[in-house]
Protein backbone atom coordinates (compact mmCIF):
# COMPACT_ATOMS: atom_id res chain seq x y z
CA UNK A 1 0.00 0.00 0.00
CA UNK A 2 1.43 3.36 -1.01
CA UNK A 3 1.33 6.53 1.04
CA UNK A 4 -1.27 7.94 -1.35
CA UNK A 5 -3.48 4.88 -0.76
CA UNK A 6 -3.28 5.43 2.98
CA UNK A 7 -4.22 9.11 2.56
CA UNK A 8 -7.13 8.06 0.34
CA UNK A 9 -8.43 5.57 2.90
CA UNK A 10 -8.05 8.12 5.69
CA UNK A 11 -9.98 10.74 3.73
CA UNK A 12 -12.81 8.32 2.96
CA UNK A 13 -13.01 7.15 6.58
CA UNK A 14 -13.11 10.77 7.78
CA UNK A 15 -15.74 11.73 5.22
CA UNK A 16 -18.10 8.78 5.74
CA UNK A 17 -19.58 9.87 9.12
CA UNK A 18 -20.37 13.33 7.76
CA UNK A 19 -22.00 11.94 4.61
CA UNK A 20 -23.98 9.37 6.62
CA UNK A 21 -25.14 11.91 9.17
CA UNK A 22 -26.04 14.50 6.56
CA UNK A 23 -27.99 12.17 4.30
CA UNK A 24 -29.58 9.73 6.72
CA UNK A 25 -29.58 10.87 10.33
CA UNK A 26 -29.89 14.63 10.31
CA UNK A 27 -32.90 16.02 12.19
CA UNK A 28 -33.59 18.29 9.29
CA UNK A 29 -36.34 20.87 9.32
CA UNK A 30 -39.64 19.88 7.80
CA UNK A 31 -40.23 20.32 4.09
CA UNK A 32 -44.01 20.16 3.82
CA UNK A 33 -47.19 20.51 5.78
CA UNK A 34 -49.88 17.84 5.35
CA UNK A 35 -53.38 18.92 6.37
CA UNK A 36 -56.29 16.52 6.80
CA UNK A 37 -59.86 17.59 7.24
CA UNK A 38 -62.48 14.97 8.07
CA UNK A 39 -62.58 12.25 5.45
CA UNK A 40 -61.24 14.53 2.70
CA UNK A 41 -58.04 13.59 0.91
CA UNK A 42 -54.97 15.10 2.59
CA UNK A 43 -53.68 18.39 1.21
CA UNK A 44 -49.95 19.06 1.02
CA UNK A 45 -48.75 22.65 1.49
CA UNK A 46 -45.27 24.07 1.04
CA UNK A 47 -43.77 25.96 3.99
CA UNK A 48 -43.17 29.13 1.99
CA UNK A 49 -44.29 31.79 1.33
CA UNK A 50 -45.72 32.92 4.67
CA UNK A 51 -49.52 32.83 4.59
CA UNK A 52 -52.76 32.01 6.37
CA UNK A 53 -54.82 28.93 5.46
CA UNK A 54 -58.57 28.78 6.11
CA UNK A 55 -59.77 25.19 6.59
CA UNK A 56 -63.40 24.21 6.90
CA UNK A 57 -64.46 21.63 9.47
CA UNK A 58 -67.78 20.48 10.89
CA UNK A 59 -67.70 23.16 13.64
CA UNK A 60 -66.58 25.96 11.37
CA UNK A 61 -63.35 27.42 10.09
CA UNK A 62 -59.90 26.76 11.55
CA UNK A 63 -57.10 29.15 10.63
CA UNK A 64 -53.54 27.87 10.24
CA UNK A 65 -50.54 30.16 9.89
CA UNK A 66 -47.37 29.34 7.99
CA UNK A 67 -44.51 31.61 8.95
CA UNK A 68 -40.78 31.27 8.38
CA UNK A 69 -40.98 27.51 7.85
CA UNK A 70 -43.13 26.97 10.95
CA UNK A 71 -46.84 26.45 11.37
CA UNK A 72 -49.53 26.77 14.04
CA UNK A 73 -53.26 26.89 14.62
CA UNK A 74 -54.16 30.57 14.99
CA UNK A 75 -57.81 29.93 15.78
CA UNK A 76 -60.32 27.12 15.77
CA UNK A 77 -63.99 26.89 16.76
CA UNK A 78 -63.39 24.30 19.51
CA UNK A 79 -63.99 24.71 23.24
CA UNK A 80 -60.68 23.80 24.81
CA UNK A 81 -58.34 25.37 22.23
CA UNK A 82 -55.79 22.57 22.70
CA UNK A 83 -54.75 22.95 19.07
CA UNK A 84 -54.10 26.70 19.45
CA UNK A 85 -52.23 26.24 22.74
CA UNK A 86 -49.94 23.69 21.09
CA UNK A 87 -48.15 26.65 19.53
CA UNK A 88 -45.63 26.59 16.74
CA UNK A 89 -44.51 23.38 15.07
CA UNK A 90 -41.17 23.51 13.32
CA UNK A 91 -39.57 20.06 13.27
CA UNK A 92 -40.34 17.00 11.23
CA UNK A 93 -43.13 14.84 12.71
CA UNK A 94 -44.62 17.82 14.54
CA UNK A 95 -48.33 17.16 14.86
CA UNK A 96 -51.24 19.33 15.96
CA UNK A 97 -54.91 18.48 15.69
CA UNK A 98 -58.24 20.02 16.40
CA UNK A 99 -60.14 16.81 17.10
CA UNK A 100 -63.57 18.45 17.60
CA UNK A 101 -63.23 20.16 14.21
CA UNK A 102 -61.62 17.01 12.74
CA UNK A 103 -58.58 18.82 11.35
CA UNK A 104 -54.99 17.68 11.75
CA UNK A 105 -51.69 18.94 10.44
CA UNK A 106 -48.34 17.16 10.34
CA UNK A 107 -44.95 18.46 9.32
CA UNK A 108 -43.13 16.00 7.12
CA UNK A 109 -39.72 15.83 5.52
CA UNK A 110 -38.36 14.02 2.53
CA UNK A 111 -36.27 11.85 4.83
CA UNK A 112 -38.32 11.32 8.02
CA UNK A 113 -36.41 9.76 10.90
CA UNK A 114 -39.39 7.86 12.23
CA UNK A 115 -42.23 5.77 10.85
CA UNK A 116 -44.50 6.71 13.75
CA UNK A 117 -44.45 8.81 16.90
CA UNK A 118 -45.54 7.45 20.27
CA UNK A 119 -46.90 9.86 22.89
Amino acid sequence: MTRADRILILLVVCTMPFVYFHLWVSDEPANYLVIRSGSNAPVTETLSPDRMLHIAGPLGESIVEINNGRTRFVSSPCTRQVCVHRGWLSNTDGLAACLPNRISMTLVSQHPRFDAINF
Partner: protein, 349 residues
Protein backbone atom coordinates in the same frame (compact mmCIF):
# COMPACT_ATOMS: atom_id res chain seq x y z
CA UNK B 1 -1.47 11.12 -7.02
CA UNK B 2 -3.89 12.43 -9.66
CA UNK B 3 -5.08 8.85 -10.23
CA UNK B 4 -5.76 8.47 -6.49
CA UNK B 5 -7.62 11.77 -6.29
CA UNK B 6 -9.74 10.70 -9.26
CA UNK B 7 -10.61 7.47 -7.42
CA UNK B 8 -11.53 9.47 -4.32
CA UNK B 9 -13.71 11.86 -6.33
CA UNK B 10 -15.57 8.95 -7.96
CA UNK B 11 -16.11 7.31 -4.60
CA UNK B 12 -17.52 10.45 -2.98
CA UNK B 13 -19.72 11.09 -6.02
CA UNK B 14 -21.09 7.55 -5.79
CA UNK B 15 -21.82 8.06 -2.09
CA UNK B 16 -23.60 11.35 -2.73
CA UNK B 17 -25.65 9.93 -5.60
CA UNK B 18 -26.62 6.88 -3.57
CA UNK B 19 -27.81 9.23 -0.85
CA UNK B 20 -29.93 11.26 -3.23
CA UNK B 21 -31.52 8.39 -5.09
CA UNK B 22 -33.51 6.78 -2.34
CA UNK B 23 -36.48 4.77 -3.58
CA UNK B 24 -39.94 6.21 -3.24
CA UNK B 25 -41.51 5.44 0.15
CA UNK B 26 -43.47 2.20 -0.34
CA UNK B 27 -45.68 2.89 2.68
CA UNK B 28 -49.37 3.69 2.24
CA UNK B 29 -50.63 6.14 4.89
CA UNK B 30 -54.23 6.83 5.80
CA UNK B 31 -55.77 8.74 8.71
CA UNK B 32 -59.22 9.04 10.17
CA UNK B 33 -60.86 10.26 13.38
CA UNK B 34 -62.19 7.66 15.87
CA UNK B 35 -62.23 7.12 19.64
CA UNK B 36 -61.89 10.88 20.01
CA UNK B 37 -58.46 10.84 18.42
CA UNK B 38 -56.60 10.60 15.15
CA UNK B 39 -55.98 7.06 13.90
CA UNK B 40 -53.23 6.44 11.35
CA UNK B 41 -52.84 3.24 9.34
CA UNK B 42 -49.47 2.63 7.62
CA UNK B 43 -49.15 -0.36 5.31
CA UNK B 44 -45.86 -1.41 3.77
CA UNK B 45 -45.68 -2.89 0.29
CA UNK B 46 -49.41 -3.03 -0.37
CA UNK B 47 -50.67 -1.83 -3.74
CA UNK B 48 -52.30 1.59 -3.14
CA UNK B 49 -55.81 0.75 -4.34
CA UNK B 50 -55.94 -2.38 -2.19
CA UNK B 51 -54.41 -0.52 0.75
CA UNK B 52 -57.08 2.17 0.47
CA UNK B 53 -59.80 -0.46 0.49
CA UNK B 54 -58.34 -2.26 3.55
CA UNK B 55 -57.95 1.03 5.42
CA UNK B 56 -61.61 1.92 4.79
CA UNK B 57 -62.69 -1.42 6.30
CA UNK B 58 -60.54 -0.72 9.38
CA UNK B 59 -62.02 2.76 9.67
CA UNK B 60 -65.53 1.29 9.66
CA UNK B 61 -64.50 -1.27 12.31
CA UNK B 62 -63.19 1.56 14.51
CA UNK B 63 -66.40 3.56 14.09
CA UNK B 64 -68.55 0.55 15.03
CA UNK B 65 -66.40 -0.26 18.07
CA UNK B 66 -66.44 3.35 19.20
CA UNK B 67 -70.24 3.49 19.00
CA UNK B 68 -70.70 0.19 20.86
CA UNK B 69 -68.13 0.81 23.57
CA UNK B 70 -68.88 4.44 24.42
CA UNK B 71 -69.32 4.82 28.18
CA UNK B 72 -71.71 7.75 28.23
CA UNK B 73 -73.31 8.15 24.81
CA UNK B 74 -76.24 5.83 24.01
CA UNK B 75 -74.91 2.41 23.04
CA UNK B 76 -74.38 -1.14 24.26
CA UNK B 77 -71.99 -0.25 27.07
CA UNK B 78 -74.08 2.62 28.45
CA UNK B 79 -77.15 0.38 28.34
CA UNK B 80 -75.24 -2.26 30.31
CA UNK B 81 -74.24 0.37 32.89
CA UNK B 82 -77.89 1.29 33.46
CA UNK B 83 -78.75 -2.34 34.25
CA UNK B 84 -75.79 -2.64 36.63
CA UNK B 85 -76.75 0.57 38.47
CA UNK B 86 -80.22 -0.90 39.06
CA UNK B 87 -78.76 -4.28 40.14
CA UNK B 88 -80.65 -5.89 37.26
CA UNK B 89 -79.14 -9.04 35.72
CA UNK B 90 -78.78 -8.60 31.96
CA UNK B 91 -77.30 -10.34 28.97
CA UNK B 92 -74.14 -8.82 27.54
CA UNK B 93 -74.18 -8.22 23.82
CA UNK B 94 -71.74 -10.65 22.11
CA UNK B 95 -69.94 -7.73 20.48
CA UNK B 96 -68.77 -6.39 23.87
CA UNK B 97 -68.54 -9.61 25.91
CA UNK B 98 -64.87 -10.40 25.05
CA UNK B 99 -63.93 -6.81 25.81
CA UNK B 100 -65.64 -6.93 29.21
CA UNK B 101 -64.03 -10.27 30.10
CA UNK B 102 -60.54 -9.12 29.10
CA UNK B 103 -60.90 -5.83 30.99
CA UNK B 104 -61.84 -7.81 34.11
CA UNK B 105 -58.89 -10.16 33.75
CA UNK B 106 -56.39 -7.33 33.33
CA UNK B 107 -57.89 -5.38 36.22
CA UNK B 108 -57.38 -8.34 38.53
CA UNK B 109 -53.79 -8.80 37.35
CA UNK B 110 -53.12 -5.13 38.08
CA UNK B 111 -54.44 -5.44 41.63
CA UNK B 112 -57.23 -3.02 40.72
CA UNK B 113 -54.90 -0.17 39.69
CA UNK B 114 -56.38 -0.48 36.20
CA UNK B 115 -60.04 -0.32 37.19
CA UNK B 116 -62.54 -0.33 34.30
CA UNK B 117 -65.61 0.08 36.56
CA UNK B 118 -64.96 3.53 38.07
CA UNK B 119 -67.06 5.22 35.39
CA UNK B 120 -68.98 7.26 38.00
CA UNK B 121 -65.74 8.69 39.36
CA UNK B 122 -64.44 9.56 35.90
CA UNK B 123 -67.77 11.22 35.10
CA UNK B 124 -67.67 13.19 38.36
CA UNK B 125 -64.33 14.66 37.32
CA UNK B 126 -65.91 15.79 34.05
CA UNK B 127 -63.90 13.55 31.76
CA UNK B 128 -67.08 12.18 30.20
CA UNK B 129 -67.70 15.51 28.53
CA UNK B 130 -66.05 16.76 25.39
CA UNK B 131 -65.76 20.17 27.06
CA UNK B 132 -63.76 19.71 30.26
CA UNK B 133 -64.60 21.65 33.44
CA UNK B 134 -63.45 25.25 33.68
CA UNK B 135 -62.52 26.67 37.08
CA UNK B 136 -64.29 24.08 39.24
CA UNK B 137 -63.36 20.87 41.02
CA UNK B 138 -65.72 18.02 41.90
CA UNK B 139 -67.22 18.00 45.38
CA UNK B 140 -64.70 16.29 47.70
CA UNK B 141 -67.47 14.64 49.74
CA UNK B 142 -68.87 13.03 46.62
CA UNK B 143 -65.39 11.82 45.63
CA UNK B 144 -64.97 10.21 49.06
CA UNK B 145 -68.38 8.55 48.81
CA UNK B 146 -67.56 7.01 45.44
CA UNK B 147 -64.19 5.74 46.70
CA UNK B 148 -65.85 4.20 49.77
CA UNK B 149 -68.40 2.43 47.58
CA UNK B 150 -65.32 0.67 46.13
CA UNK B 151 -66.50 -0.48 42.71
CA UNK B 152 -64.20 -3.31 41.56
CA UNK B 153 -64.48 -6.00 38.91
CA UNK B 154 -64.82 -8.70 41.57
CA UNK B 155 -68.24 -7.17 42.38
CA UNK B 156 -69.36 -8.45 38.98
CA UNK B 157 -70.06 -12.00 37.96
CA UNK B 158 -70.47 -13.17 34.40
CA UNK B 159 -72.10 -16.53 33.81
CA UNK B 160 -72.08 -17.37 30.14
CA UNK B 161 -73.28 -13.96 28.90
CA UNK B 162 -75.41 -13.09 31.92
CA UNK B 163 -73.90 -10.31 34.01
CA UNK B 164 -74.88 -9.43 37.56
CA UNK B 165 -73.46 -7.25 40.30
CA UNK B 166 -73.93 -6.73 44.01
CA UNK B 167 -72.54 -3.20 43.93
CA UNK B 168 -74.69 -0.55 42.21
CA UNK B 169 -71.74 1.84 41.98
CA UNK B 170 -69.96 -0.20 39.30
CA UNK B 171 -70.06 1.53 35.91
CA UNK B 172 -67.87 0.47 33.01
CA UNK B 173 -65.56 3.05 31.47
CA UNK B 174 -63.14 1.37 29.12
CA UNK B 175 -61.18 4.51 28.28
CA UNK B 176 -57.95 3.00 29.62
CA UNK B 177 -58.26 -0.09 27.50
CA UNK B 178 -60.69 0.11 24.55
CA UNK B 179 -58.28 1.86 22.21
CA UNK B 180 -55.73 -0.91 22.63
CA UNK B 181 -58.35 -3.58 22.16
CA UNK B 182 -59.52 -1.83 18.98
CA UNK B 183 -55.95 -1.69 17.65
CA UNK B 184 -55.64 -5.46 18.23
CA UNK B 185 -58.83 -6.03 16.21
CA UNK B 186 -57.41 -3.84 13.43
CA UNK B 187 -54.22 -5.92 13.38
CA UNK B 188 -56.37 -9.08 13.19
CA UNK B 189 -58.18 -7.54 10.24
CA UNK B 190 -54.89 -6.72 8.51
CA UNK B 191 -53.61 -10.25 8.97
CA UNK B 192 -56.76 -11.79 7.54
CA UNK B 193 -56.29 -9.40 4.60
CA UNK B 194 -52.79 -10.85 4.16
CA UNK B 195 -51.01 -7.65 5.23
CA UNK B 196 -47.81 -8.60 7.06
CA UNK B 197 -46.08 -5.25 7.55
CA UNK B 198 -48.04 -2.40 9.12
CA UNK B 199 -48.50 0.12 11.92
CA UNK B 200 -51.85 1.04 13.46
CA UNK B 201 -51.41 4.22 15.49
CA UNK B 202 -54.34 5.63 17.49
CA UNK B 203 -53.47 8.98 19.00
CA UNK B 204 -49.82 8.06 19.55
CA UNK B 205 -50.43 4.55 20.90
CA UNK B 206 -49.56 1.93 18.35
CA UNK B 207 -48.98 -1.67 17.38
CA UNK B 208 -46.45 -2.72 14.77
CA UNK B 209 -46.29 -5.93 12.75
CA UNK B 210 -43.54 -7.03 10.36
CA UNK B 211 -41.08 -4.38 9.34
CA UNK B 212 -40.36 -1.59 6.88
CA UNK B 213 -38.83 -3.54 4.01
CA UNK B 214 -35.40 -4.74 5.02
CA UNK B 215 -35.22 -2.67 8.20
CA UNK B 216 -37.24 -2.49 11.43
CA UNK B 217 -39.93 0.13 11.93
CA UNK B 218 -38.50 3.22 13.65
CA UNK B 219 -40.64 4.68 16.43
CA UNK B 220 -39.96 8.04 18.06
CA UNK B 221 -41.14 8.59 21.65
CA UNK B 222 -42.20 12.17 22.29
CA UNK B 223 -40.99 14.02 25.38
CA UNK B 224 -43.86 14.40 27.87
CA UNK B 225 -43.11 18.06 28.51
CA UNK B 226 -42.52 19.50 25.03
CA UNK B 227 -42.80 18.73 21.33
CA UNK B 228 -39.33 17.23 21.05
CA UNK B 229 -38.35 13.58 20.71
CA UNK B 230 -37.16 11.98 23.95
CA UNK B 231 -36.03 8.62 22.62
CA UNK B 232 -36.51 6.08 19.88
CA UNK B 233 -36.79 2.35 19.43
CA UNK B 234 -36.63 -0.02 16.51
CA UNK B 235 -39.40 -2.57 16.35
CA UNK B 236 -40.04 -5.53 14.10
CA UNK B 237 -42.19 -8.62 14.32
CA UNK B 238 -45.08 -7.81 16.59
CA UNK B 239 -45.04 -5.21 19.36
CA UNK B 240 -47.26 -2.54 20.86
CA UNK B 241 -45.88 0.73 22.21
CA UNK B 242 -48.26 2.57 24.55
CA UNK B 243 -47.75 5.68 26.64
CA UNK B 244 -50.06 7.10 29.30
CA UNK B 245 -49.32 10.68 30.30
CA UNK B 246 -50.66 13.48 32.45
CA UNK B 247 -50.74 15.76 29.38
CA UNK B 248 -53.39 13.90 27.37
CA UNK B 249 -56.69 15.15 28.87
CA UNK B 250 -56.55 17.67 31.67
CA UNK B 251 -57.85 20.94 33.01
CA UNK B 252 -56.44 23.52 35.39
CA UNK B 253 -57.95 25.13 38.47
CA UNK B 254 -56.05 27.84 40.39
CA UNK B 255 -52.85 26.89 38.57
CA UNK B 256 -53.13 23.21 39.52
CA UNK B 257 -53.20 20.52 36.86
CA UNK B 258 -55.90 17.80 36.97
CA UNK B 259 -55.52 15.00 34.42
CA UNK B 260 -57.74 12.09 33.42
CA UNK B 261 -55.94 9.11 34.99
CA UNK B 262 -57.80 8.65 38.27
CA UNK B 263 -56.29 6.63 41.11
CA UNK B 264 -59.19 4.40 42.24
CA UNK B 265 -57.72 4.28 45.76
CA UNK B 266 -57.96 8.04 46.33
CA UNK B 267 -60.49 9.23 43.77
CA UNK B 268 -58.05 11.92 42.58
CA UNK B 269 -55.72 12.04 39.55
CA UNK B 270 -52.62 9.89 40.18
CA UNK B 271 -50.03 12.36 41.36
CA UNK B 272 -46.54 10.88 41.23
CA UNK B 273 -46.13 10.06 37.53
CA UNK B 274 -45.67 12.18 34.40
CA UNK B 275 -45.74 9.37 31.83
CA UNK B 276 -45.37 5.63 31.44
CA UNK B 277 -44.31 3.86 28.24
CA UNK B 278 -44.92 0.12 27.90
CA UNK B 279 -43.82 -2.26 25.16
CA UNK B 280 -45.78 -5.50 24.94
CA UNK B 281 -47.00 -7.88 22.27
CA UNK B 282 -50.73 -7.12 22.36
CA UNK B 283 -52.10 -3.62 22.45
CA UNK B 284 -54.98 -4.22 24.89
CA UNK B 285 -52.60 -5.43 27.61
CA UNK B 286 -50.15 -2.61 26.85
CA UNK B 287 -52.97 -0.05 27.14
CA UNK B 288 -54.28 -1.37 30.47
CA UNK B 289 -50.74 -1.77 31.82
CA UNK B 290 -49.74 1.80 30.90
CA UNK B 291 -52.73 3.04 32.93
CA UNK B 292 -52.06 0.69 35.86
CA UNK B 293 -48.34 1.53 36.03
CA UNK B 294 -49.09 5.24 35.83
CA UNK B 295 -51.32 4.85 38.91
CA UNK B 296 -48.76 2.57 40.60
CA UNK B 297 -46.11 5.30 40.34
CA UNK B 298 -42.36 5.04 40.96
CA UNK B 299 -42.76 2.95 44.13
CA UNK B 300 -45.04 0.23 42.81
CA UNK B 301 -44.57 0.03 39.06
CA UNK B 302 -42.11 -2.84 39.17
CA UNK B 303 -44.32 -5.23 41.15
CA UNK B 304 -47.38 -4.24 39.11
CA UNK B 305 -45.55 -4.84 35.84
CA UNK B 306 -44.37 -8.20 37.15
CA UNK B 307 -47.92 -9.22 38.01
CA UNK B 308 -49.26 -8.13 34.62
CA UNK B 309 -46.56 -9.95 32.66
CA UNK B 310 -45.03 -6.74 31.28
CA UNK B 311 -41.32 -6.92 30.44
CA UNK B 312 -40.43 -3.45 29.11
CA UNK B 313 -41.33 -0.27 30.99
CA UNK B 314 -40.16 3.34 31.15
CA UNK B 315 -41.74 5.58 33.82
CA UNK B 316 -40.98 9.29 34.20
CA UNK B 317 -41.83 10.60 37.64
CA UNK B 318 -42.85 14.11 38.66
CA UNK B 319 -39.21 15.03 39.39
CA UNK B 320 -38.20 14.04 35.86
CA UNK B 321 -36.31 10.89 36.90
CA UNK B 322 -36.59 8.13 34.32
CA UNK B 323 -37.26 4.70 35.86
CA UNK B 324 -36.81 1.69 33.64
CA UNK B 325 -35.95 -1.98 33.71
CA UNK B 326 -32.75 -3.27 32.06
CA UNK B 327 -34.57 -4.89 29.14
CA UNK B 328 -36.20 -1.58 28.23
CA UNK B 329 -32.90 0.26 28.68
CA UNK B 330 -31.18 -2.11 26.28
CA UNK B 331 -33.53 -1.36 23.41
CA UNK B 332 -34.25 2.34 23.81
CA UNK B 333 -32.04 5.06 22.33
CA UNK B 334 -32.22 8.41 24.06
CA UNK B 335 -31.71 11.54 22.03
CA UNK B 336 -28.35 13.29 22.45
CA UNK B 337 -28.20 15.84 25.25
CA UNK B 338 -30.68 14.12 27.54
CA UNK B 339 -30.43 15.79 30.94
CA UNK B 340 -32.27 13.44 33.29
CA UNK B 341 -31.38 10.95 35.96
CA UNK B 342 -31.98 7.34 34.94
CA UNK B 343 -32.92 4.87 37.67
CA UNK B 344 -32.44 1.28 36.56
CA UNK B 345 -34.59 -1.30 38.32
CA UNK B 346 -34.07 -4.99 38.92
CA UNK B 347 -34.87 -7.15 35.87
CA UNK B 348 -38.48 -8.08 35.22
CA UNK B 349 -38.82 -11.85 34.98
Amino acid sequence: MIEHLTRLGCLLLALAVSGCEQPKDPVFHDQFFAFGTLVEVSLYGVEPQRAESISKVIEKDFMDMHANWHAWQPGKLSSLNKHLANLEPTTIDPSILPLIREAGRLSQLSGGLFNPVIGNLVALWGFHDNALPVGTLPDSTRIRELVEQAPVVSNISIDDALITTVNPSVAYDLGGFAKGYAIDRAIDRLRTSDVQNAIVNAGGDLRVIGQHGDRPWRIGIRHPRDNSILASIEVSGDASVFTSGDYERFFEVDGNHYHHIIDPRTGYPASSTTSVTVIHSDAATADAAATALFVAGPDQWLSTAQNMGIRQVMLIDKQGTIHMNPEMRSRIQFEPGLNAEISLSAPLQ
